[in-house]
């Protein structure tokens, strides 16, 4: 078991070092996130105020697009010069590769969220202080489910001419339950001031469990070199 953890740490370190070395993706994705928040802010008339709770949906759109681009990048790193084949020939099982990719994707999505969320709070006058802990929990669970599906399909859908397009086309509908559940929870908390709904949290948890398990198994079958 420790060997697997060591390998996961090694693979994640490699991904993050490559990302630090190239830097442009994270920068590009973060600016895109802020752009989405600004455009939707203007579109939804955030300047009139009183629409703080709408920021949750806007932040979601920013996270999703940023997420898809991150999945695309962390997988395209493996495609250059056939690096993935080097990995697959090494005594590393595919589940470990999936787990490492998932963690790398989550770390990158988190990095983007750390920049985009404040932008949402500022532009929408979104009162995050009302329930920051619940916000973080719900967003965390949602991102986990989203990244689970995104990582699986990023391995299947290579970065060819459709680039992020096909990946977004595939991942968005499949993760709609996460989006529906988390936005409903957010509305409940930030608009109606209720506490965290058990049922909705259950849906998020179920989604994460189902899709982490399904992606882990299928990744094994489909990651042909």
């Amino acid at each position: 078991m420790t060997r697997t953890l060591r390998q996961i740490a090694l693979l994640v370190a490699k991904d993050l070092r490559i990302e630090a070395r190239t830097r442009q993706t994270l920068g590009l994705v973060t600016v895109l996130g802020i752009l989405i928040v600004v455009v939707l802010g203007l579109g939804l008339g955030a300047q009139q105020g009183g629409v703080g709770h709408r920021a949750t949906a806007v932040l979601w759109v920013a996270y999703l697009f940023a997420g898809v681009l991150c999945f695309e990048k962390t997988m395209s790193v493996e495609r250059h010069d056939g690096a993935l084949a080097g990995l697959l020939v090494a005594p590393v099982d595919r589940g470990t590769i999936y787990a490492a990719k998932l963690i790398s994707n989550l770390v990158m999505m988190l990095a983007v969220a750390l920049v985009v969320t404040p932008a949402g709070v500022v532009f929408f006058g979104f009162d995050l202080s009302a329930a920051p802990g619940q916000f973080a929990l719900v967003i965390g669970l949602s991102m986990l489910g989203f990244a689970a599906v995104g990582t699986l399909f990023a391995a299947l859908v290579s970065s060819s001419r459709l680039a992020g397009g096909l990946l977004a086309l595939v991942v968005f509908p499949l993760t709609l339950p996460v989006v529906i559940a988390s936005t409903q929870i957010m509305l409940g908390i930030f608009r109606d001031g209720q506490d965290l709904g058990g049922m909705a949290l259950g849906v998020l948890g179920a989604f994460d469990v189902v899709f982490l398990a399904a992606s882990w198994v299928m990744f094994e079958w489909v990651l042909e070199p």
């Binding site: 290579s158 529906i180 042909e224």
Partner: protein
């Protein structure tokens, strides 16, 4: 007309007859529902179409799992055929639901759990067809579609659950008396026969087109490892 064509013809004649029979039964021999009135009669088409949509989605799931397991192309053709029919049936569910809503509540669209569920289901499998259309290499398309087919089906209960989170402004659970249940059963038969027949026909067409193109996946020329999805 060889034996197979005769059988096919007989199948479709029976399906057509059961369509006509069910229509007559609902039009003349089924009473209107007290609270909802005549528009409730849409239900006799709406529910069978929904159930068959679910069966077709299940078939996509089974065929997708079959392809991943055996990598035989006929599984892939079956998945494609079932998905097309699933989208067709789901369109019926969605449209009849909207028409019903229009008549009963005056608006074409409400974010009620049932309508949202049908819409997301419809989106899931329309995207399946679009994914298939956007991948050229047969073997790559089959693998990506298979994984999508499996994940989409696992998604269905979750979509149902998350849709229930939406407030349902029009709770309308109606009880069906004897003759109404007869009408429901009467409509279940033709819709199921049609669904099965369409899937079979589409499947046969897929097989024929594959034989004619005969372009089995070429042996990957040489290493390097051309990665997953290179020809998309």
């Amino acid at each position: 007309m060889n034996r197979r064509a005769v059988l096919q013809l007989a199948y479709w004649v029976v399906t057509a007859a059961s369509f006509v029979g069910a229509a007559l039964l609902v039009a003349f021999a089924t009473p209107n529902e007290r609270t909802m009135g005549v528009v409730q009669k849409i239900f006799y088409l709406h529910l069978p179409a929904a159930i068959n949509t679910f069966l077709a989605c299940g078939l996509v799931f089974i065929a997708s799992a079959g392809y991943l397991w055996q990598r035989k192309t006929w599984w892939d053709d079956l998945a494609a055929a079932s998905a097309k029919v699933a989208v067709l049936l789901c369109s019926i569910v969605l449209l009849t639901g909207m028409i019903w809503g229009r008549s009963a509540w005056g608006t074409w669209w409400t974010w009620s759990p049932r309508l949202t569920f049908s819409l997301v289901l419809w989106l899931l499998y329309v995207v399946y067809l679009m994914v298939r259309a956007s991948i050229e290499s047969e073997q790559r398309r089959a693998v990506v579609s298979a994984v999508y087919g499996i994940v989409a089906f696992l998604d269905v209960p979750l979509v149902y659950l998350s849709a229930k989170l939406l407030e349902d402004i029009h709770p309308s659970s109606i009880t069906l008396d004897g003759s109404m249940q007869l009408a429901l059963a009467a409509w279940f038969l033709p819709v199921t026969l049609a669904a099965g027949g369409l899937i079979a026909a589409r499947y046969a067409l897929n097989r024929a087109q594959r034989q004619r193109s005969g372009s089995a996946a070429p042996e990957p020329r040489g290493f390097p490892v051309r990665l997953v999805g290179d020809a998309i």
